[in-house]
């Protein structure tokens, strides 16, 4: 369905905006969200009343935070829908905004991700099933890291280089929670679980990210500078299946979601110039560069070490700094990836610019598990 819709009625990202990701503060989520939306409206050069619907992505804030925030832009009566999909909430909000425009229900839609980290319960807390051990998610990724090291004979230092690269990218990103270059020695300090150290794990915090999408008709009617638009050429969301004991679930889920996305976009991994990945933990970047087909299975560390995922390399991976450097405030994260890909495709990423970026991919995973992939291309 999405293949037909996105081809028959193209959807464009026309405006992006963010509130910097940061440590939890006294600032209201309303202020965080409004900052991002206002920046996106200015970026698109449209007014709030041109926006016909809003998808609000959040995982932590609780029930219905959308209208108490958006009313301050003018209570226009627009359609408001809340989207909760764990870490992929923002990506899913963006997908729904795209599909609404593609379906012809409206011409201009907003995806806004906003969150403030606090205590939250997941569905698993209530699922009526006991669990033998319930360590924090980072223990699960520590186990995954150890299995990767053992299976492919890769040292933790090679894996930790992901954090060195991504903290370096984030240092040039004014919206990033961390803006400091780190040496491998710094990254290897402060163990938290197994071989994982603090700087190999994404920080949680708060922030907001907005993306406005529009139809071709709206681009013409609102006189939008189309050379700055990025076209959404694939939108895929899948959930985990049963893969068997020898398979790595998050790798298989990403692999099959990516395959569908590449088929929709009619491209392959070699066509990608820039990618934003769900690198909540260092090992994930290696696993996903392999699952996307940017390199062979087990060769993720080599792909990184050869500089092929650096800005200026074959395909810049997480030039924003990724979840490890830019941060992972949940709701905003997936929309923030779209903002980064759009900025890269426009050629407006400054010191983080991947040269000749024509096609970009954004990938998020949400516990449960779900995987969301979008592919965008530049029009110039």
């Amino acid at each position: 369905m999405a293949i037909t819709l996105l081809r028959q009625r193209p959807v464009y990202v026309i405006g992006i905006g963010l509130h910097r990701y940061q440590k939890t503060s006294q600032k209201s989520y309303v202020e965080l969200g409004l900052t991002a939306v206002r920046e996106a409206l200015v970026d698109a050069r449209i007014s709030w009343t041109d926006v016909e619907s809003a998808y609000v992505g959040n995982a932590i804030l609780g029930m219905a935070p959308g209208r108490p925030m958006l009313r301050h832009l003018g209570a226009s009566g627009l359609s408001i829908t809340h989207i909760e999909n764990a870490s992929a909430s923002g990506s899913t909000a963006f997908r729904q905004a795209c599909l609404e425009v593609a379906s012809g229900v409206c011409d201009v839609s907003l995806a806004i991700g906003v969150d403030k980290i606090g205590a939250t319960l997941t569905g698993r807390s209530w699922d009526g099933t006991e669990h033998l051990a319930s360590p924090s998610p980072l223990v699960g990724f520590a186990l995954l890291t150890k299995m990767y090291m053992d299976r492919y004979g890769v040292s933790i230092e090679k894996i930790a280089e992901v954090a060195v690269k991504n903290h370096g990218n984030a240092a040039d990103n004014p919206y990033a929670q961390f803006q400091k270059r780190r040496t491998l020695e710094e990254v290897m300090k402060s163990p938290v679980a197994g071989p994982l150290t603090r700087l190999q794990c994404c920080p949680f915090g708060e922030g907001a990210a907005a993306a406005i999408v529009a139809s071709e008709e709206a681009v013409e009617r609102l006189n939008i500078n189309s050379s700055r638009n990025a076209q959404v050429i694939a939108s895929v969301l899948r959930s985990e299946r049963v893969y068997g004991p020898e398979k790595n679930m998050i790798v298989e889920l990403t692999r099959e979601t990516a395959k569908q996305a590449f088929d929709q976009a009619r491209i392959g991994p070699d066509d990608l110039d820039v990618v934003e990945l769900h690198d909540a933990f260092t090992v994930e970047e290696l696993l996903y560069t392999e699952a996307l087909g940017l390199c062979e299975e087990g060769k993720g560390a080599e792909f990184l070490a050869e500089g092929r995922s650096r800005i200026g390399g074959q395909c810049a991976v997480s030039p924003s700094g990724g979840l490890i450097g830019m941060g992972h405030p949940f709701g905003p994260t997936g929309v923030g990836q779209i903002a980064e890909i759009t900025r890269q495709l426009r050629g407006e990423a400054g010191p983080r610019q991947q040269p000749q970026a024509h096609i970009g991919l954004a990938h998020m995973v949400g516990i449960g598990q779900v995987c969301v992939i979008h592919i965008l291309r530049r029009l110039r």
């Binding site: 099933t129 033998l132 051990a133 053992d150």
Partner: protein, 140 residues
């Protein structure tokens, strides 16, 4: 020894004799799919309902696939980090459990492990609450 009661009643048995090893409880669908933790909500492979699912006892024995210490969670001895492991059970399932050892160095990948019942408190009737942890064969 006082009467023992499971911390998680749906997950493992508590044999009357303290020398007898606990079994894990799992789910098996009529389609053949085996899973843990057990439930009778439905089968995620074939979609069959509760009538197709049986709760079965499974030996709490297998091989340690990998393990990691959580430096943010503390072992019952009060000072060493809690260690979690993936156990490849003899029936082919891989499950996540806590390893009852105070020293990670005593563990290695491929090591044979089995379930034990470790006391973790008293209930309001004075019974000993026990949790199922894994230890290497021959002790930790």
């Amino acid at each position: 020894m006082s009467q023992r009661i499971a911390k998680k009643k749906t997950l493992f048995t508590v044999p009357e004799s303290p020398t007898e090893r606990p079994s894990l409880l799992g789910g098996r669908c009529s389609c053949g799919y085996l899973f843990f933790p057990p439930h009778r909500f439905g089968c995620e492979v074939c979609g069959a309902g509760p009538e197709a699912i049986n709760i079965i006892e499974m030996a709490a024995t297998g091989l340690l696939k990998t393990f990691a210490a959580s430096h943010r969670q503390i072992h019952s001895d009060g000072h060493s980090p809690l260690i979690f492991g993936l156990v490849f059970l003899d029936n082919g399932l891989t499950i996540l459990g806590a390893i009852d050892t105070d020293d990670e160095k005593k563990l290695h990948i491929g090591q044979r492990v089995h379930g034990v019942l470790a006391p973790c408190g008293l209930d309001d009737q004075g019974r000993t609450i026990v949790d199922c942890l894994f230890v290497p064969e021959g002790g930790a």
